[in-house]
Each structure stands twice: as C-alpha cells, then as structure tokens.
C-alpha cells in the first residue's frame, strides 16, 4: 500500500472530544491543500467506550475510507476512570491502543498517552514485538501531564495534535487559525501553549525513525468540509424547504438538528414532536397547507411513518422523508452503518403503493438528490424518500464551495394560483376537481386551503375527482392508474431532462461490472480504479434511483458485461433482489459481496472480492465479508 496519503486515526473514550478535535484537524489538512475523507466509529453511549475518527488526506481525490491507516494517536479512555481516579471500569482505558493495532499499516506511526496508558498495560499488548514485526514507530508521550500543566486534562487532544504536527513536519498555522476561530480567552491561550509545547518537545527531543510525512497539495478553488447530513440539510434549504418535524433518533438526528438550528433565522419552522407518526403527519399537514416540508427518521422511527406515507400517496400531498439507515433489525446497532432498510423503504405501507426513492452515493449527490426529491415531490405530488446511512450521514469530505452556488428552487410545483383556480374544473356544487381522472403525466394540480374556490376533500379513502369518498369501480380504476402513471412520468423526466443520477466509473469496455448503491459507492469507485491500475478491466456503477428503477440504464449496463458483482452492506442482498425483480432476469450473471459487521467497506475488501469472484470462488475471503454466488453457481 502506498503511503502518499496520511490516514490519521485518533482514538479515545466517547466524550473525550475526539469528534471536535478530528473535525478541526481534518479542516487544517483541507486548508493545507489536501483532499480529506473522514470515518467515524463510536459506541452507543455518551461517555466512555472506545471511539475513533479516521481522517484520510491525500493530494488526490479520496472517495472512501482507506485500507487500514498509518498514524494512530491513542489518547486512552479518560472515562474508564471515575473521578476518584483509583477505580477502573474494566479494561476500557487501554482500548484506544489495543483495539486499533490490527488495522495499522506497516511502517505506521503510533503516539500513545503514557500519562493515561500505564506501562504494564502497554507491555501486556506485546506492542514492542509487534512494532518490530510491522516496522511501526512508537512514540510514548505523557500528553496528560502536559495538558494538565498548562490547562486541563481534557486538552490532551491538543497535545496529541501538536505531537502529530511535529512528527509529520506540518506547519501549525492552519491548526492555530482554527483554534482561534473555535475558542477564545484563557481556554485558547492554554490550548495554544499546549499545542506548542507538545510540538516543540517532540521536534527537539525525539529522534524520528519513521518516513511518514504529511503530503502536500493545493486546491484550485476554495473548499468546504461537509458531512452527508450537512449536504441533505443544505439541499433541503436550497429546495425551499422551510418546515421540518421530527423525533430524535440516531443517525437521522443530524439532519434534524442542522435544520432546527437554521430554520428560525430563515423564517422557517422546526418542530420536535411526540413520535414519528406525528412527525410525518406534521410534515404532511404543513405541505397540505402550502409549505415545503420534510420529516425523516431511522429504521425503527421510519416504521412508524408508514401510515402517513400511505396517506401522502393517497391524498397526493407532496412529502419528502429522509431515512438514515443503521444496522437492524429493531434497534440493532444504533451507531453502526448498514444498508439494510432498502426493502423496508421501498415496500412499506399497504395497498398498491408507490413512492420515489433516491439513494445518494456521496456528499455531493446527497445535496443534488435532496433537491431533486423536493422537485419531484412537489411537481408530481408523491412522497419521495432519500435513503442514506450512518456512514454517509457522519463522514466529512471536502467539496468545492462553488458547488453550492446555485439558485434556490422555492416553487410549490403543480399548485394553482387563485387566478388559475377560477379557470379550473369544478363540479356542479362549485367544488374544485382536485383529482381529475384524465390528466397529463397523472398529475392533477392542487389548491391550498384558504384559496378562493379551491375547496375539496383530501382523504385517505379512495375518492372521486372532488374528493368525496367513493367505491365506484370505474373511478377506482381511473384514480389508481393515474397515481401509478406518475412513476412512469418521473422515470421519463429523470431519463430525458436530467443527467442520469447513476454514477459510472472504470473501464468502459470492461466485461466485468461492479454494481453498488448508496454510501458504498466511494469504496467501490476506489477499488475499481485500483483494479484497473493493476491491469484488470473492470467497470462500475453506483445506482441512486431505487424507485422508479432505471430499467433501461441497468439493462444496458448488464448487457455490456459477462458478469457483475453487487456490493452492498447488508446480509440479505436487498439491492440484488431489487435488480432481479425490476429487470426480471440476469440472476445467473449477478453475484454479491456483502458486509454486515457494522463497519463500512474498505476498498481492499472489494478488490479481494473481485479476485475471489474471478479466480478463486472456493476460497474464503480474509475480511468479514460474504460472497454470495450467482444463481446456478
């Protein structure tokens, strides 16, 4: 593995400030001209418990976490001790060092806090021997005392960053700037002192035995560091969404929080409500009354939204929901990523029900497809779901600032003005024909309560053109067919008027294809690039349109290859099932590479999956992945 990249892992106890420290360090690396990609691993508890953040930084584009990592800053878990300091909770304290060694690359650098991780504990890990075998370069440093001396123990983070900068021969300028932005007064002073002290101590007193240095790069345009949750929230803002209702649940809470914090200043409305049924029902009520509205949740909370989702479809009320997957079933693993809710999102709700589902593959797509979700929802009066996962939600990547320099789209789609309403069809009693039978694309324009002469009844029962409850067989057929027709019209618009939302990469002429969806896309892109560099011929596609399915595009792709491997983070090959259902064949061409241990794919696992698929179907993969052969194999 080449070391033209830095993959810096900071590990400690949950609540030790790992997140904020890594966020700042990632920004410093971005400001120094590098592309960055972060990966966050944390337990479902507030304080204590092993957590780490990985920052991959390179002078070239990075689309995924890397394979392993090459710099560990092990802070120890300060919450493994109680305030009396003498009592220990199990062996948590040493985990930031012990739990991370398996993924460390050859030649890697380790800094650990010898103020917190005792000599005996470290000795028990056999660190010395392992370091020798793997050419690791270990630098014990008493970060805790250093932090205490100048400020508070919690500033061990800063000491660690100072040590990192010295070992990698980085300039402190960007780090200092970011600290000055984030804090002030005595706290800032103390932190700066600690930063410099650690930097100088390491620079002056240690003999460097390692080769690893921070790469250098340059950006042509200004960059911003954003998570998938930021991108979804910002896509909603630029689509003109100004109403959000929700109930906290990891990892959806991120989007909910970002919009709740921004909406009041934008004249928008954010509501935290009693449960997820209410949340989706509120979004529906606001949308019905003429606001652009959204709600969302994660698996278990989304399950509660299945009722309002169906109501939105039947009443043809625009509704945007986001679903942030985490590992299930039930509460599953609240802070671990998985792509296991696809079928849940596609098929939940009773009856011949349909909705639109987009699964963005990275931060930029998350922004684009959220905007598209609002466009489709309000134009076609149909619920649209953006499905993503804990990985995309929390990972930060740098994006060109200019990417966001776009006009907002605050239109209510197929909604009539009062002037248009006057000309529209009404029944003999003066009720507006809200649900006409025969209209283009299946879309019958709506009115809003409070408009003159727009009265109708929106109902979850089957209904006549003005909204009266109706079980008339002819009307039922007309209404059902019209609602279903919208999906075809949406497919047509996505195909014709917009660039495909699918992302293609690799060698166009290859006869082996790798197909993936959602947040696994980045790792697959990197793997495909690597395979092609190694002399294989492989192409890939990250599929974003889950419903309506891009049938023509996928048929074309599968026709152009002899074999395809579908990569997804679940145990039941849900996307592969969708492909086969939608396309009705290709079972013999499609194999699967599945991962469901709570960790996202590393590119190397996909490379290995390809190799085993092509050459050694009988061999077991080395990583925690599973290969599911094609039908008949």
């Amino acid at each position: 593995m080449s070391d033209d990249e830095l993959i810096w892992r900071i590990a400690g106890g949950s609540g030790d400030g790992i997140d904020s420290t890594s966020q700042n360090f990632a920004k410093a690396l971005m400001r120094s001209g590098l592309d960055v990609f972060t990966h966050r691993h944390y337990p479902s508890r507030i304080r204590g418990g092993h957590t780490y953040v990985e920052i991959r930084a390179a002078d070239h584009e990075v689309q995924s976490r890397g394979d392993g990592y090459n710099f560990l800053l092990a802070l120890g878990d300060s919450f493994a001790r109680n305030p009396q300091e003498e009592a220990f909770y199990g062996n948590e304290e040493i985990k930031p060092l012990s739990e991370n060694l398996d993924d460390m690359r050859e030649g890697g650098v380790i800094v650990y806090d010898e103020g917190l991780l005792s000599e005996e504990d470290v000795a028990e890990l056999d660190l010395e021997k392992r370091a020798e075998e793997n050419d690791w370069h270990v630098y014990p440093l008493d970060l805790r005392s250093l932090a205490r001396e100048h400020g508070r123990e919690v500033m061990r983070n800063t000491a660690g960053v100072g040590a990192t900068a010295a070992l990698l021969e980085m300039d402190l300028e960007h780090i200092e700037d970011l600290m000055e932005d984030a804090m002030g007064g005595e706290v800032l002073e103390a932190n700066l002192e600690i930063l410099h002290e650690a930097y100088e101590t390491v620079r002056d007193e240690y003999d460097f035995t390692h080769d690893l240095r921070a790469p250098s790069g340059e950006h042509e345009r200004e960059q911003a560091l954003l998570s998938g949750s930021n991108a979804i929230a910002y896509g909603a803002i630029d689509a003109g969404c100004r109403f959000i209702a929700g109930y906290p649940m990891t990892p959806w809470t991120d989007v909910f929080t970002i919009l709740s914090q921004n909406f009041p200043d934008m004249g928008g409305i954010a509501e935290q409500v009693e449960d997820e049924i209410a949340a989706a029902a509120l979004a529906l009520g606001a949308s019905h009354a003429g606001a652009k509205a959204m709600s969302g949740s994660s698996g278990g909370g989304f399950a509660l939204m299945s009722e309002p989702l169906g109501l939105a479809e039947m009443t043809e009320t625009p509704l945007v929901l986001v679903e942030a997957m985490r590992a299930g079933p039930s509460t599953g693993m609240p802070t671990k990523p998985e792509q296991g809710d696809l079928e849940h999102v596609l098929y939940t709700s009773q009856g011949d029900s349909s909705r639109v589902v987009f699964a963005p593959g990275n931060v930029a797509e998350a922004y684009d497809q959220t905007r598209m979700a609002f466009h489709v929802a309000y134009e076609y009066q149909i619920p649209v779901i953006v499905i993503y996962d804990q990985k995309l939600s929390g990972e930060n990547t740098n994006v060109d600032v200019s990417f966001f320099d776009r006009e907002p789209e605050p239109t209510l789609g197929s909604t009539l003005t009062e002037e248009e309403l006057r000309e529209a069809a009404h029944d003999a009693s003066g009720k507006f024909q809200r649900f006409q039978h025969d209209v283009e694309d299946g879309v019958s324009p709506r009115s809003l309560p409070g408009q003159k002469d727009g009265r109708y009844l929106a109902t979850g029962n089957e209904h006549s053109p003005v909204g009266h409850i109706s079980e008339d067989p002819d009307n039922r057929v007309y209404q059902m067919e019209r609602r279903l027709e919208k999906l075809e019209a949406i497919r047509e618009e996505l195909d014709e008027e917009h660039d495909s939302q699918q992302t293609y990469f690799g060698d166009e002429t290859a006869d082996f294809g790798i197909v993936t969806w959602g947040s696994s896309q980045g790792a697959v892109e990197e793997a495909v690039a690597r395979l092609n560099e190694q002399g294989h011929s492989v192409k890939g596609v990250g599929v974003s349109d889950m419903m309506p399915f891009p049938e023509a595009e996928m048929t074309e792709f599968l026709e152009s290859v002899d074999e395809a491997m579908i990569v997804e983070m679940n145990a039941t090959a849900q996307f592969r099932g969708l492909m086969q259902k939608e396309l009705g064949r290709y079972g013999e061409k499609l194999s699967s590479l599945l991962k469901y241990n709570g960790e996202p794919f590393e590119p190397a696992e996909i490379v290995e999956g390809y190799e085993l698929n092509v050459d050694g179907a009988d061999e077991e993969p080395t990583a925690q992945v599973r290969i599911e052969p094609a039908a008949g194999d």
Binding site: M266, E274, I277, A291, E407, G450
Partner: protein, 311 residues
C-alpha cells in the same frame, strides 16, 4: 396581494354554503348524534362570519371522520388518530386558516391519545371536537376508551375491566385552555359552545356527547342532561383551574352514574397560544409561511451563505 384571498373575506355568508351541493348524503344511522355536531357547525361557522374557503376541517377515521364529507369546507380526512398532528402543522404553516379537528372517542382518545395530550400541552390555536359515543361505531360496537367499566361488546364479552378515560380532566391537565362538554341532544348549547371554542385563541377541546342508537342501545343516550351554567346547583369559576378540575371530576364520574352534566368547564384567556409562544422566540415567521411561496420578491436564503463555518 395575498395568495389566500378567502382568508378574512368579508361578506354575507349563506348557511347553505356549508352543505355540499351535489353529494354525498350522510351515511350516519338515523338518530345518530353525529348529526348534532354537523348541525352545530353549520350554524356556528356562518354566524362567526367564516367562509367555507377559509376553514380547514381535519378528521380521523370512523363515523366522526366523515364529518368533512358532509360539511363543505377545505377538508383533510386523515387516518386513525392522526387528525391533530396534521391539523396543527397546517395551522403553523398558514396561521390565517381556521383549523377545526374532529375525531371520535376511539380515534381521538385511544389510538390518537398521545397526540391529544401533546396538542393540548402545546396549546395550539385550534378547535378539537371529539364525538364521544363511548363506543367504536364504524367497526361495529367494540368497547372504546370512554366505555363505562363493565361495558359488554363482542370484543369484551365478559364486560370491560377498564375504567373509562376522563377526557376533560386529561386535556385540562395536559394544558388545554378551553375545555367544554356538550351533547347532540342540546343543540342550542352545542352551537354556542362550538362558537366559543372556535373563537378561543388556544387549544379548545370540546367533548361532544353523541348518542349511538345502533351500538349503544342500552345507554342512557345523555338524556336528561344538565347544563352546569344554567343550573343553580353548580357554582364555579370557569377561569379557576382548581374549581374547573373539581367540576370535571364530578361530571366525569356522574356521566356513568345517572346524571349527564354539560357546559363549559375551563377557560383560560391568559395563556398565549403555541403560535404566539413560538413567535416570541422568533421561531415562526410573522407572515404565514405558506404566503411566501407566492411572493416573487422574497429573498430566499441559500445554503451558500452558511458555508463559512465549513471552510
């Protein structure tokens, strides 16, 4: 110019405007108390100067849910127990609308109980009418949250072991600022209470006793009733929460013991509505959110302006 010109429109309102002109005819059973709610609303709305286009009625499921099929306003017939969250968001999005939610005792106090408590707690400026006939009607007579203890039905053949919910005390305790009970058998009181509830700025909860001639044949059907405001036997201050609570306790006990007490029980004009509370915090716009989408001159904020903290 407003995009919602029906709101605040000042003209003579014909009562017939609230009756759908073509179809449908009510499917309620002959003698059903639900006709009483419909009638009270058809009288109250024009007397309040409201036009059909500025009223949004939001209903749940069941016989009560059909209210807005027979009352010609803007209507949203939602799903089991969910009228309140839909209604309160519509009100937040367009404050100018007169929002009236309605549901049954099963719909509103059972499956929608959580929303009932929280909507009252937040004191949304809207009216909530619960058609209380102490039974599930449209699903054929099962025991409901307000059925008396011992009530026998096909699903509780040995009689219900549960004490009935006390809806008035529940909404009072949760935070409702107007709480009343009326009955279909007293149309004049019903109309007046509905008018007061609609005019009230805050969450107005009306427990509307609606006799069910089909599934509650043995029930006393709320006759004779007593209007606590008219009767000399009851003297309490509707603005005093403690006195109101005591009266409610008595009323809710008496309903199953031979006397049907009705009237207004609690009126609090001092507590600001949820909308006002949020406005004070700067959490809702001054002008209805829904208007903004029709305003070509409105300067929409962009995410681009938020990027500073990400650089």
């Amino acid at each position: 110019m407003s995009a919602f010109n029906a709101i605040g429109e000042d003209r003579e309102i014909d009562r017939d405007e609230f009756t759908p002109g073509v179809e449908p005819q009510p499917t309620w059973c002959p003698g059903c108390g639900d006709f009483g709610v419909l009638k009270a609303l058809k009288q109250a709305l024009p007397e309040l100067g409201l036009t059909p286009d500025e009223v949004l009625t939001v209903t749940g499921i069941g016989c009560s849910g059909k209210l807005n099929s027979y009352l010609d306003t803007y209507g949203f017939h939602t799903i089991h127990g969910r009228s309140l969250p839909v209604a309160r968001a519509a009100k937040l999005a367009n404050d100018g609308l007169e929002v009236i939610a309605a549901g049954g005792d099963g719909d509103g106090y059972g499956i929608g109980g959580n929303h009932f408590i929280h909507t009252a707690r937040e004191n949304h400026d809207m009216t909530y009418i619960v058609f209380n006939n102490e039974v599930f009607g449209l699903t054929k007579g099962q025991t409901s949250p307000t059925s008396p203890k011992g009530h026998k039905s096909k699903t509780q053949p040995h009689g219900s072991a549960k004490s009935p919910l006390r809806p008035l005390s529940t909404s009072l305790n949760a935070g409702a600022t107007y709480v009343a009970r009326t009955a279909a058998v007293n149309p004049n009181q019903a109309k007046e209470i509905i008018k007061e509830a609609i005019e009230h700025d805050g969450f107005a909860h009306v427990d509307f006793l609606t006799q069910c001639p089909t599934w509650n044949k043995d029930a006393r059907q709320y006759v004779p009733y007593v209007d606590v405001q008219e009767s000399e036997d009851y003297d309490f201050d509707v603005h005093d929460r403690r006195e109101a609570a005591e009266m409610m306790f008595e009323t809710e006990s008496a309903l199953y013991e031979g006397t049907v007490l009705t009237g207004r029980y609690y009126v609090n004009e001092d507590r600001p509505s949820y909308q006002e509370e949020k406005q004070k915090l700067g959490d809702v716009p001054d002008e209805p959110l829904a208007e903004r989408y029709f305003d070509d001159d409105y300067e929409w904020e962009r995410s681009y302006d938020l990027l500073e903290r990400h650089k």
